[in-house]
């Protein structure tokens, strides 16, 4: 069984984000693998260790620094990597439907039985790519996975949904997107980091696989309003007046 794991390189969750008129300032900012994508890689590696899958291929779309996330995936245990190169801004111009289309082409080219990805990326929080990919391939999907069991070509996934936990079962091939509690990724050890250097990394320019349509345009980016202090009011009438006139609640 072959697994494709899609990873994205995003702004590190710990840094303080600077907002510029045209978006987030990415200059010199610390970037890292999207946490949910890392969880997806870890799950693939665990499935391989359980001998349920034979090969893990990691894929990313982005500029040349995106290869860092691929090398991280290789160091965690992926066997091969594919880098779809583009200089477009990955946090703005590389959008879910375009990504899904490109991934679909790779899936058809290489014949995967399973696609694993993070449920969403922490820069745009779209939470669409996995679902769209499944739609394009006409494959079953299970999103927000917190547990994955695979046996005899059947995937059983426990999903974390608003109402609690839902268990779904489907026949592979399919798409599964991973949620926070699925696993805790391992540390990449130095020997594995070094082994990763000699694992195959294929580079494909994006134009060969698809196009970026920029169908969603970002019209404004602003930082959240600075928290203003509250005020203590003398009585309920003043409270109601403030809620109506200042907070404009009703």
């Amino acid at each position: 069984m072959k697994v494709l794991v899609a990873v994205k390189r995003v702004v590190d969750s710990g840094i303080k984000v600077r907002v510029k008129p045209d978006g987030i300032d990415l200059q010199g900012v610390k970037m890292t693998i999207n946490p949910f994508c890392e969880i997806a890689v870890e799950e693939a590696v665990r499935l391989k260790e359980k001998k349920l899958i034979a090969e893990i291929v990691a894929i990313t779309i982005g500029p040349k620094q995106g290869a860092e996330s691929l090398r991280h995936a290789l160091a965690l245990g992926a066997d091969k990597a594919i880098h779809v190169t583009t200089d477009a801004r990955i946090d703005q111009a590389v959008q879910p439907l375009d990504i899904a289309n490109i991934l679909a082409k790779i899936v058809e080219r290489d014949n995967y039985n399973l696609v694993l990805m993070g449920k969403q990326s922490i820069d745009d929080d779209f939470n669409q790519t996995g679902q769209m990919l499944a739609g394009l391939l006409d494959w079953p999907q299970a999103t927000f996975a917190s547990n994955i069991q695979i046996s005899d070509g059947i995937a059983q996934v426990i999903r974390e949904i608003d109402g609690g936990l839902q268990t779904v079962k489907f026949k592979l091939p399919g798409v599964i997107t991973c949620d926070l509690r699925l696993n805790q990724p391992r540390f990449a050890s130095v020997p594995n980091i070094m082994k990763a250097k000699s694992k195959p990394l294929e580079t494909i320019p994006l134009e060969k696989l698809g196009k970026l349509h920029n169908s969603i345009q970002i019209t404004k980016t602003e930082a959240p309003a600075i928290r203003k202090g509250g005020a203590i009011v003398e009585n309920v009438d003043v409270l109601l007046q403030k809620l109506r006139n200042e907070a404009k609640l009703f």
Binding site: E68, R71, S189, V190, P191, I193, K197
Partner: protein
């Protein structure tokens, strides 16, 4: 009184990178990848427990074994011998990252690395096969015995003696301030084999005649056991000699430059942690209606801390690179790096303590532990005074 206790300092662990200062001068992509791996491990598996290990004087053998599994115990041992085969600059980056979480354990890890390196460089095939795999997993803990009660800086004047007797050596003498003493499985002993010759002999724990003093009560480095190692007619086969008789000093010299970078790197991580805590504190703590960060005196103090930290990091990495390139000035720069970084980083931690006011004095705020741990780096691996001897001798000859 504005108390900041509910800022759970121990749980306030930024997930990636040094929180505020992480220049990547000298570092290529592989270094950065390895730095990330080391930092992640350090912040998750060491930082939350550092205070407890210090308080309980607990030597975390299990964590050291996990560090070994990450590849951190034989970093610059050749791959053919079973090590990871990386360079001194990578080792410096690793130790700096790990000491962000816990200075003491990382310092012990550097000793293990150094002992493994010595076996790799100077041991015969048999010795390499016996020890390097065991050092690499921390199946065997190693200690390095050089200092004696009467010979510290004056190490050539050591008295511990190994006398040939048939096919054995019989060793008599005592070593002190030995990290890992009484706990380590293997002791790399530097001793005299003739009036002038210093040699290195491997002595295993359990050999009759080998005993240990009580565990020393120290100012810091509490997570690391330190004791005297006593030799009373300890008999070992001559095959335990590492390298050749009389080569002990050359061996020690070749290990020393790297050892100095290692200890300097441990200072960098600890100071980095104190620095990061200080930046947060300067914003959070208010006096006279303003955050401390708005007072110029403290701003200047903080500016000096930052400058000290960055310049220390630069000279340590440069010296590490010079060792890797076998630059003719590597000994000079290693001595400068060790002296400068250990002094500056101690000052960073000490100033951080001052910045924290009364809270800096409380163990709960962790700064005082960094100060106590870093203080000894100005003394061991060659006192900073000896570093000045080396530097001036090198330049004035």
């Amino acid at each position: 009184m504005q108390i900041i206790r509910n800022r759970l300092m121990v749980n306030h662990i930024p997930r990636f990178g040094f929180k505020y200062m992480s220049d990547s001068t000298f570092l290529n992509e592989e270094h950065l990848q390895i730095q990330k791996a080391a930092l992640d491990f350090s912040k998750e598996k060491m930082l939350p427990y550092s205070a407890e290990w210090d308080k309980k004087h607990h030597f975390p053998k299990d964590v050291l074994r996990e560090l070994a599994a990450m590849g951190f115990s034989t970093i610059y041992v050749k791959q053919e011998s079973g090590g990871v085969g990386l360079d001194r600059l990578t080792a410096s980056v690793i130790f700096e990252a790990l000491s962000y979480g816990d200075v003491t354990t990382t310092a012990y890890l550097t000793i293990q690395n150094m002992c493994a390196y010595m076996v790799d460089q100077f041991g015969n095939e048999e010795q390499k096969k016996t020890w390097i795999p065991r050092f690499g997993t921390f199946d065997a803990f190693a200690s390095y015995c050089l200092t004696e009660p009467n010979s510290g800086s004056d190490s050539k004047n050591m008295k511990t003696f190994a006398k040939k007797d048939g096919n054995d050596y019989v060793i008599n003498g005592s070593k002190c301030f030995i990290s890992g003493g009484s706990v380590s499985d293997v002791y790399l002993l530097m001793c005299k084999t003739s009036e002038k010759d210093v040699s290195c002999i491997i002595v295993e724990k359990g050999t009759p005649g080998l005993s240990f003093g009580k565990l020393e009560d120290k100012m810091g480095w509490n997570a690391s056991p330190t004791s005297m190692v006593l030799f009373d007619n300890v008999r070992v086969p001559q095959s335990n000699l590492l390298g050749k008789e009389g080569n002990g000093f050359k061996m020690a010299m070749s290990a020393l430059d790297g050892g100095r970078i290692n200890i300097a790197s441990c200072s960098l991580g600890g100071a980095s942690f104190a620095f990061d805590l200080s930046k947060d504190y300067l914003h959070d703590r208010k006096q006279f209606g303003q955050p401390l960060a708005s007072f110029q005196g403290l701003q200047f103090k903080f500016a000096d801390m930052a400058t000290n930290l960055v310049t220390s990091r630069l000279i340590v990495r440069q010296a590490a690179q010079m060792i890797d390139n076998n630059h003719p000035d590597k000994t000079l720069y290693s001595a400068m790096a060790k002296r400068y970084a250990t002094d500056s980083c101690f000052n960073v931690a000490n100033e951080a303590l001052q910045l924290h006011g009364g809270y800096g004095y409380l163990s709960e705020y962790q700064i005082e532990r960094i100060v106590r741990d870093l203080r000894v780096h100005q003394i061991l691996e060659g006192t900073n005074e000896i570093m000045k001897v080396i530097i001036s001798r090198n330049l004035l000859k």
